[in-house]
């Protein structure tokens, strides 16, 4: 308002430099030709795959820590695995800012649940359903949250592992993956996952798949995190790297099976 006082009140031009509209005018101008509504068209900073498996004591999630800006691997320390409450973990691929918005939303949900203070607690199944509703409703408005999410948790001994996509497709399974993980990791899971694996076996399986992703997914880097949820609580590891071997036969002559390609 102080702007309007200077210059005898003729400061419209100055105001418009700082805000999109005059400070003491209406916030939206009525017009017979309204501005086009904006919908999310494409993501900007994206995360690559997330992997998840059930094992004997709970759920394991794994992802790398890269945030790509198109074809540039611009951010190398993006945490794509987050804890929700104390019995659920969430992993996301896709637009990182939308993931941050979702994390905020779920934190608010958990806080409100906690504030009732009545002995009830939302479990992974209920949180997943809430997330589904959010994703599907945004998709219906043609303004999706551009993520594929993996949600895992354990409540009263019952393990839960599920996935939601940006259009609201959701399902549960013993092992899930997003993005490239679907094509590269899940076939390995289908062959090698078994019921009631130990923690070591689970970690080994995930590390094998993370390595394949690093070799073959150009938006993956050799810096990973793993999240583990059991009845005892949630741990998310510090970033770690895996030993890579570029001397493998398949890398020596990459175009052997497809002459002319690179």
């Amino acid at each position: 308002m102080a702007w309007a006082k200077e210059n005898g009140g003729n400061n419209k031009a100055a105001e418009l430099n700082y805000v999109d509209r005059s400070l003491d005018g209406p916030s939206h101008n009525f017009s017979l030709m309204p501005t086009p509504s904006k919908h999310t068209q494409y993501p900007y900073v994206t995360g690559s795959s997330v992997l998840g498996i059930k094992y004997k004591d709970g759920i394991l999630l794994a992802s790398d820590t890269a945030g790509c800006y198109g074809s540039t691997v611009r951010y190398k320390s993006v945490e794509r695995l987050k804890r929700i409450g104390d019995n659920t973990i969430l992993g996301a691929s896709g637009e990182i800012s939308d993931f941050q918005a979702i994390t905020n939303l779920l934190d608010e949900l958990i806080t409100e649940d906690w504030m009732w203070d009545d002995g009830n607690k939302l479990g992974p199944f209920e949180i997943h359903n809430y997330l589904n509703r959010v994703m599907y409703n945004r998709r219906n408005k043609f303004d999706p949250l551009w993520n594929s999410l993996v949600l895992g948790g354990i409540k009263k001994g019952k393990k839960y592992l599920g996935m939601v996509s940006m259009i609201g497709v959701h399902f549960q399974d013993n092992h899930v993956a997003t993005g490239f993980g679907n094509h590269l990791a899940r076939p390995i899971f289908r062959d090698e996952w078994k019921e009631d694996m130990t923690l070591e076996e689970g970690v080994k399986l995930l590390e094998k798949c993370l390595l394949v992703l690093f070799y073959r997914d150009r938006s993956a880097i050799n810096k990973f995190q793993m999240a583990n949820v059991t009845e005892g609580g949630i741990t998310i590891t510090e970033p770690f790297a895996l030993k890579v071997n570029w001397e493998l036969e398949a890398f020596r002559n990459p175009t052997k099976g497809a002459e002319g390609s690179w």
Partner: protein, 260 residues
């Protein structure tokens, strides 16, 4: 208690620290016909109600309202107010199924009810809801029976009765309280019917027209039994036991109840 200069609206305190309008609203509950609620320790919660009819021509007034497949309530007082509250509760229950795909825990439902009812005890343009509820439900923590009052207080009960002449039923329930935890369903219904018949007016007896029963429990969604369907449960008590006490409403029913 009646008629003083502090009872004109609910936003006026009396010098004794009472809200008379709220207390008058609680009187409305005592005008409604009796209803009884009880539960055992782990599997069932039941509601029984005495239905009244205004004349021989009209049907008996419905007293038990299902809210969701795991919870329902019986009412005493202004039926119209009860309808509003039941609509709110049903909405809360379906929202929980939509957002979280779980049945709304009973204590959370009752807390939300309490919050909603409290607003009308603190606004000059509203009046308290003139209906008392007995809410019976079954959730992951077991069976529950809750009582709510127009004062917006709610109580978690092992057994309870509200409405006209309900003091006699409460006396019966208190006497037999220790037995309920281990009762089977039929034993529970039997106790409920014996408690309900204590509230009968002169020369009336329990029959399939005036008794309404509802059962909810493990593997048993909230089901209301009326008319024909309640006959099988009335068979649990003898002919003689169906008759009420011959005395009329006792003085103790008229004593105002103060909240703890």
């Amino acid at each position: 208690m009646f008629r003083n200069q502090y009872d004109n609206d609910v936003t006026t305190w009396s010098p004794q620290g009472r809200l008379h309008q709220v207390e008058y609203a609680m009187e409305a509950v005592k005008q409604g016909s009796a209803t009884v609620g009880l539960k055992n320790s782990d599997t069932y919660a039941i509601l029984l109600a005495l239905k009244r009819s205004t004349s021989e021509l009209s049907a008996h007034q419905k007293k038990i309202i299902p809210l969701d497949s795991h919870v329902g309530m019986s009412i005493a007082g202004l039926t119209a107010d009860a309808r509003i509250l039941s609509r709110y509760m049903r909405n809360e229950c379906t929202n929980e199924h939509y957002a979280h795909d779980q049945p709304l825990p009973i204590n959370r439902l009752v807390t939300r009810m309490g919050l909603k009812m409290q607003t009308s005890t603190q606004r000059y343009d509203r009046r308290p809801y003139g209906v008392g509820l007995l809410i019976a439900g079954f959730d992951s923590k077991g069976p529950h029976v809750y009582q709510t009052c127009p004062s917006a207080n709610y109580f978690d009960c092992k057994a309870m009765s509200i409405g006209a002449r309900s003091q006699s039923a409460r006396t019966y329930l208190e006497k037999n309280l220790d037995k309920f935890a281990n009762c089977t369903l039929n034993e529970l219904v039997r106790h409920g019917l014996l408690a309900l018949r204590e509230c009968l007016p002169n020369d009336m007896e329990l029959n399939s027209k005036n008794v309404s029963l509802a059962i909810v429990g493990k593997d048993h969604p909230f089901t209301v039994y009326d008319d024909q369907k309640v006959e099988q449960f009335l068979a649990l008590i003898t002919e003689a036991e169906r008759k009420g006490k011959s005395s009329g409403p006792s003085e103790q029913d008229r004593v105002m109840e103060t909240e703890p």
